[in-house]
Subunit: 272 residues, 2 copies
Amino acid sequence: MRQPIGVIDSGVGGLTVARELMRQLPKERFIYLGDTQRCPYGPRPEDEVRAFTWQMVNYLLEKEIKMLVIACNTATAFTLEELQEQLSIPVIGVIEPGARAAIKVSQNKRIGVIGTEGTINSKAYPNALRAIDAKIRVNDLACPPFVPMVEDGILEGAEAEGVVARTLTPLKEMNHIDTLILGCTHYPLIRHLVQKEMGDHIQVISSGEETAREASLILAYHRALNTSNEQPVHEFYTTGDIEKFRVVANSWFEDPVQILELVELEGTRSSA
Amino acid sequence: MRQPIGVIDSGVGGLTVARELMRQLPKERFIYLGDTQRCPYGPRPEDEVRAFTWQMVNYLLEKEIKMLVIACNTATAFTLEELQEQLSIPVIGVIEPGARAAIKVSQNKRIGVIGTEGTINSKAYPNALRAIDAKIRVNDLACPPFVPMVEDGILEGAEAEGVVARTLTPLKEMNHIDTLILGCTHYPLIRHLVQKEMGDHIQVISSGEETAREASLILAYHRALNTSNEQPVHEFYTTGDIEKFRVVANSWFEDPVQILELVELEGTRSSA
């Protein structure tokens, strides 16, 4: 099937998921839509996140996508179930893949989760983990300073290390987890700092990598893999500043972004 | 859904997959059928493997399984597609999960595969890998001495190390892979020897662990997870010697096997 796969995110964070999708599924064509203008979704109320997410979904459905990936933990927490029920194409989110990967690697069944306030307050990760294994104990922690820091490009140095150390202190003090889920797509960019702070004995799981793996399975399961060997040309759309988006995307992908356009959704300003 | 999950294998090798399934899906009840009397399937012609596999499948379908796991690489290579087409329940094999996991971790796109003659000659792994990524280069190698050695319980010491070293020599000489798939369910039992022989820079993938992870996803995707918190009691069936099977199973599982019975399939002897 040559139809594209749609990827939605609250902003640029989901590009870490898109990059992994492109790496693990190099024959597939992707259409990415980031709601940069209204990012972050983390602190927003559930109703608002649901409304914004549906706007993005409807935009991509017109492009005849064969699968939808919700590359945003907050949007996944609030909308995955209803999207799976109401769309006729497969829909996957970033939460369950991270949960299943953590269950696979954890030996002591004590799993840590870090994410935005929205994701952590939703209890989506503990629910996903305990639905599979009731004996799992979860230590979760909202890390509000991480997304703004990553968006500002502060990924190294004393300031970044200090923020990570201070923020993770409550999790370190509990100290019994053997696995930590990065429950926000921005966090893989500071994975090295998190790993250093938590220690080498902690296995750090990136939900994005795991989501790409599961997208690959679901495509194969539906016999919907693209069998053509033509080099796919991906498309990127943003509700916010195009040039800022281009700079971030080009710094994360091997090849420069070719197709990048501004999109106006209900309530976003085209002159952003 | 409280119905059990069926697991079939040519013998006891698939118990490594069953163990991972039980660990990653602790609420689920499993029914395992091993065709120990006619093991190994690796050197058998395709028609015979297909006939034997269908006998096992029909036996488990009467037990109203909600999903089937083919925990044998040879049987997966020869029957997965027709079983997926003809059964109304989800069917997963051990080959694609190993392939997808390897694609996820490989950086240089050069992947090694070891397995039985049947699995390697079928080219099932190279086909699965290249269906996803045409640029992947595969070095595969049949390792006929490994299954008999593992079945004889030789998992340590100079003899085992010598056999592993001699057998893997052709693969080491090619020397460019960064990832190696254990394409036979017996091989996780000598994983430490394979890792030592190949070197720490090679990432070794166990198809069994990856299959359990994907089974978890497919169950969730079909909303067929068991939500009850009752401790499940698993059932084991073998076409061969019950006491030999019990010794192996009890050495691999934390809890002793409770239900273990002899099964007669067409062509197997009940007095085996």
